[in-house]
């Protein structure tokens, strides 16, 4: 059975007197333990899709089935309970935390709210989560503002895996990080997936990042899904103009003589 089944999802926004289709009849599926890369330029609708999936905004039409449940009709206690299974990691890692929080409180919240482990076991669980994402357990007492950007993103990942989710939505989760740290975070995500069977919906405008971790890649343009296939199919043999433009836009490392017109798309 598919972990996630999105069918004919639509959403319109009115902007400056105009009615804009942010999402038009988007359908896609995600299997357990799979990574689907969702690529597209700004305004292509990929973040709208992620926000509807996370129930941050409603859809105008279409359905989402997550773990077999009609996800968009869930509400109240049932939605809260099932939300543990779908977590998220965003780009703006400082904005995603209470700035006055300590690392321990950031990780304690999901454990407490979703009753993952009894109270007495929570400090041990927090230490285990920190160690799992490559941070010393002593970090628990630090302020979230004291740690570096890369460490903060590790903490965001620890928070996401705390509730033992089956799906994590990653929205530009590594875009703000330095390249050397970016690679290590991607490696951590892959390790966690292999170890725990977590599926990822990885939203990014950077195909090089998506290529590194995605089994399949979906390309969006102007609110529509214009292409979907295995990562190698889409990268090596793109069918849509949107995919070709995204591929052409990835900077290539030129180590020979500089080619003057390299970036003309």
């Amino acid at each position: 059975m598919m972990l996630l089944d999105i069918a004919d999802l639509s959403r319109r926004f009115s902007s400056g007197g105009r009615d804009v289709a942010a999402l038009s009849d988007v359908s896609l599926t995600l299997a357990p333990g799979e990574t689907l890369g969702l690529a597209g330029a700004s305004g292509s609708g990929k973040s709208t899709l992620a926000r509807i999936l996370l129930r941050l905004i409603p859809a105008d039409g279409g359905t989402i089935h997550f773990e077999g449940k009609d996800w968009l009709t869930l509400s109240g206690a049932e939605l809260r309970r099932r939300r543990a299974k779908m977590q998220m990691v965003f780009q703006d890692i400082l904005g995603a935390f209470n700035p006055r929080a300590t690392v321990a409180s950031v990780l304690d919240d999901p454990l407490r709210i979703h009753e993952i482990v009894p109270k007495a076991e929570r400090p041990g669980e927090i230490a285990a989560l920190l160690e799992r994402v490559g941070l010393p357990a002593s970090y628990a007492t630090r302020s979230i503002r004291e740690v570096s950007g890369g460490q903060r993103q590790r903490i965001a990942i620890a928070r996401a895996i705390a509730t033992r989710p089956s799906l994590i939505v990653l929205d530009e989760a590594v875009s703000a990080l330095d390249v050397s740290i970016r690679g290590k975070i991607l490696e951590l995500l892959v390790e966690l997936q292999q170890e725990r069977g977590i599926a990822y919906l990885f939203v990014s405008h950077d195909l090089a990042v998506l290529r590194a971790v995605s089994h399949r890649i979906a390309v969006m343009q102007a609110g529509r899904l214009v292409e979907i296939g295995t990562a190698s199919q889409v990268i090596e043999n793109p069918q849509s103009s949107a995919a070709r433009a995204l591929i052409a836009a990835v900077p290539r490392l030129v180590t020979g003589l500089p080619e003057r017109h390299y970036y003309d798309v």
Binding site: E34, T35, A41, S42, G43, G149, D178, V179, S180, R182, G183, L186, E187, V190, Q193, H205, D206, L207, A208, V209, R211, A212, V213, S214, H215, R216, T230, A231, S232, I235, A245, L246, I247, A248, A249, V250, P251, R252, L253, V254, T255, G256, L257, P258, E259, R260, Y262, Y263, D264, V265
Partner: protein, 260 residues
């Protein structure tokens, strides 16, 4: 190429910080070149840009020298233009695009408002903003991020400066818009014979069009030289690490696609 600016023993320390953000930098900027300043967070690359531009905050201490070939430091706005990462922060939200692009031309080229407006229209055409006559009367919030950055470039170039400093000018844009803006900068700088100082964290982006690169780390200049030499035969271990961590579409993925 002759040195436009010889930077010697340059250090900069922000007020209240015990550690300098930039330590003992020796670097030449050549007239007419595209110099890429490359580094990660905390490398000092933006501090260097601000020091060259004279835009360090009050209380910052600067030591060392910047020797300009013309004898005196270039006048910001007239001789030197700037483009920053966030175009919303460099544009005034309550002035029309036209006023902001025309302002530099009026002030530094001594044009009348009428002539400066015409100059602004020409500049918007040159940066290929669609429907420039309409954009002239628009406000920044009515444009997309990519269009705003085009406008910021038009404003920076309106007074025909000899030097353009671009500090992470494409980092907040999506990849497709980034490629367009880099191509535009490259073209404008080449046409005008300007000197471009391009500050970026992205070594691959710089490798596509820079003449020379300078690699920064922790406030120090690690290595500098022609782009081909530094990137194909890096001398420094850090440069090697930076190149090794670059990922593009030909880098082997971290996962194996499941057989379907």
């Amino acid at each position: 190429m002759s040195a436009l600016c010889e930077i010697r023993g340059l250090s900069a320390t922000y007020r209240g910080h015990p550690v300098p953000a930039l330590t003992n930098i020796d670097l030449d900027i050549h007239a007419g070149e595209r110099l890429a300043i490359i580094g990660e967070s905390g490398s000092g690359k933006s501090t260097l840009a601000r020091t060259i531009a004279g835009l360090l905050p009050a209380g910052a201490r600067v030591r060392g020298e910047m020797r300009w070939s013309v004898g005196q430091a270039p006048l910001p706005g007239r001789d030197m233009g700037f483009v920053f990462q966030d175009p919303s922060a460099s544009l005034n939200p309550v002035l029309t695009i036209g006023e902001q692009v025309a302002e530099g031309a009026r002030r530094h080229l001594g044009l009348t408002w009428k002539a400066a407006d015409q100059r602004a229209l020409d500049m918007l055409e040159r940066v290929r903003v669609p429907d420039p006559a309409k954009v002239l009367k628009a406000f920044p919030h009515q444009l997309s991020g990519g269009q705003r950055q085009r406008v910021a470039i038009a404003a920076a170039l309106a007074a025909s400066p000899g030097i353009l400093i671009a500090d992470e000018a494409t980092s907040a844009l999506d990849m497709i818009v980034q490629a367009e803006i880099v191509s535009l900068l490259d073209e404008l700088v080449r046409e005008a014979g300007m000197t471009l100082v391009f500050i970026t964290h992205d070594v691959a982006l710089a490798s596509g069009f820079a003449d020379r690169v300078a690699i920064f780390r922790g406030g120090e200049l690690v290595e500098a030289g022609p782009v081909g030499a530094v990137l194909s035969v890096p001398e420094n271990i850090y440069t090697k690490t930076l190149l090794a961590s670059h990922r593009d579409l030909s880098t082997p993925p971290l996962i194996r696609e499941t057989a379907t």
